[in-house]
């Protein structure tokens, strides 16, 4: 009797602490623009939110399904360009353009996914790397994307009467996007689909033997990730009011990947933390900015050697119970 009580009290207290922590963090996030009037602080905070959203999306591909995508910036770019072109050249409604950005990124993702996911999953790594370059070069050379200068003067839309041209408003919109994504991703990870992903990540042959449609689930993970990338890219275009090929380099993809790996592949709170850190740490180390990618590279190697589960590892549901 006693032992049962003690056991059930433990997780309850843990949950209470966790809920408290989340509430505090959220309150701090909401208060931030009112406490600090510095545009610099707000800009860093917005960048962090973008990387959190991207890391949450990439985490589905890398963390949940165990597929390494090195061209994630391509989908981010496709989303940004889609929104830019639709709203500026064709005067499409913002919400429609936002949806189109996600869907279009997903369509391209399905082309890559169906091509490559049938094969060894490490081929995906190289193909996405090449695809990232293809998208960047294409954007650089096409007329509709504005060539090397890109598209500028994207009108900030009004959402519920608030103009997204205001940094504070875009901050709150991104905060809502990140909070909703966090909840959605955590639930997705714990769902039937999430368990299927975990199973195929750990042992594909076993997963297949259990009747899991491995190709279908890999595609599903990949498409979820690309859709998220496209959506985030669309918000990015709104925030910057301009998109150009320079914003979508290979290093962009690497930074998002580092956020996922550092935080902990498959761990939702981990990748949110990782998204914050990949922006904060380089900001704090401005004086040695030449060394940034050297440190990034070393960090990836050292993390994989000594702490492959990241700074905030995923809890594997099921293991602790029983």
């Amino acid at each position: 009797m006693n032992t049962v009580n003690a056991r059930s009290a433990g997780p309850d207290r843990g949950r209470l602490a966790r809920t408290g922590g989340v509430v505090l963090l959220l309150a701090a996030a909401v208060a931030l623009p009112f406490v600090s009037s510095s545009p610099y602080v707000l800009d860093i905070a917005i960048q962090m939110l973008f990387y959190m959203a991207l890391a949450l999306g990439l985490n589905v591909v890398v963390g949940y399904a165990g597929l390494l995508d090195l061209g994630y910036a391509a989908y981010f770019a496709v989303g940004a360009y889609t929104l830019g072109i639709l709203t500026k050249t064709f005067q499409v409604n913002f919400w429609l353009a936002l949806l189109a950005a996600g869907v279009f990124a997903m369509l391209l993702g399905s082309f890559i996914g169906m091509t490559v996911l049938r094969l060894r999953s490490d081929y995906l790594t190289m193909v996405t790397l090449g695809f990232g370059e293809i998208i960047r070069i294409t954007a650089n050379n096409l007329k509709i994307t504005g060539g090397p200068t890109g598209i500028f003067g994207i009108m900030a839309p009004k959402v519920f009467g608030l103009s997204l041209g205001q940094p504070r408003n875009i901050y709150f919109v991104m905060l809502i996007v990140v909070v909703l994504s966090t909840i959605a991703m955590a639930r997705l990870g714990n769902s039937r689909v999430g368990r299927a992903w975990a199973c195929l990540r750990e042992d594909q042959d076993a997963a297949e033997a259990m009747g899991i449609n491995t190709l279908g689930y890999k595609l599903l993970a990949y498409l979820t990730g690309t859709f998220w990338g496209g959506l985030t890219g669309a918000f990015f275009a709104v925030k910057m009011t301009a998109v150009s090929p320079g914003s979508f380099s290979f290093m962009q993809s690497v930074t998002v990947l580092l956020a996922v790996v550092m935080g902990g592949m498959g761990s939702v709170p981990g990748v949110v933390l990782g998204g914050a850190l990949v922006i904060l740490l380089p900001e704090m180390l401005r004086a040695v900015s030449d060394w940034r990618y050297l440190v990034f590279g070393a960090a990836l190697v050292l993390l994989m050697l000594f702490r492959p589960a990241g700074l905030w590892p995923a809890r594997h549901a099921g293991k602790e119970e029983v």
């Binding site: 390494l68 094969l119 790397l129 090449g130 370059e133 293809i134 990947l257 990618y293 492959p308």
Partner: protein, 302 residues
Amino acid sequence: MSQFLEQLLNALVIGSFYALVALGYSMVYGIIRLINFAHGDLYMLGAFFGYSALLLLGRISLGSGVTGVLLAMLIAMGMTGGLGVLVERVAYRPLRGAPRIIPLITALGMSLFLENAVMVFKPWGASFRVYPVTLGRAGFDLFGVHIGYAHLAIFAMALFLMVGLHLFVERSTYGKAMRAVAFDLEAAQLMGINANRMISLGFFLGSIMAAAAGVMAGLYYGQINFLMGFIVGLKAFTASVLGGIGNLPGAMVGGMLLGVLEVFGTSSVGGQWKDVFAFGALILILVFKPTGLLGERTAGRM
């Protein structure tokens, strides 16, 4: 006709660089099933080691002749070979048996690390470096095309290295042991083969081929840069997939073929699409013939 010949010569030289780098990808993949991202950077490092060696040899007035170039190439190959072995020892060996995504990420980190280490290293730096030795223009005319001896020498050197590697892997005892490890690591170990040593050997051989290509590319293009390995690495990977990954003659054929495809493709669609052409080829190969031209049937799903 004369333009065609000129293009073909260019294609063969560029293709032989791809082929030499592709050999390393293919060999390492064949042995431990790892896409060694950092491999393109070993090509870059080879070029930089060659650059420094040529500068040093120039000081003792050895740097400009054929002997100097060959010596610099040997030095670069030795240094890069050692570095390749070191990379495997430090970054990949401890992770053998880990889920596949883990060593892939390490390899990516290693690649970033090597590139940026070269960038922050003062004597090499971030800007383009002009190679200390330029190729002579001497040559002969064939069908109205000027064919430089130096270009022919580069091509011949590449062929010599490839044939040498092929003979080593096919004929020598070490080569046989390496193939045994690639075929079945555990069984090879049970037969008394030191698998770790064979894996190191594979990395060494791949790295010296990449280094040779790097030095020759420095001579050919006349300038080098710390990012030169990124695109070449990706293209060499394409070449090894084109030939059938894990298959060494395939990597050579694939490299040459990719060089030809790229040079002639680019001349018909325009230079700004050059890289799109190569990566598009990679995607097309994976759609229509994922095993490559000479690949075995085992390259199925995994």
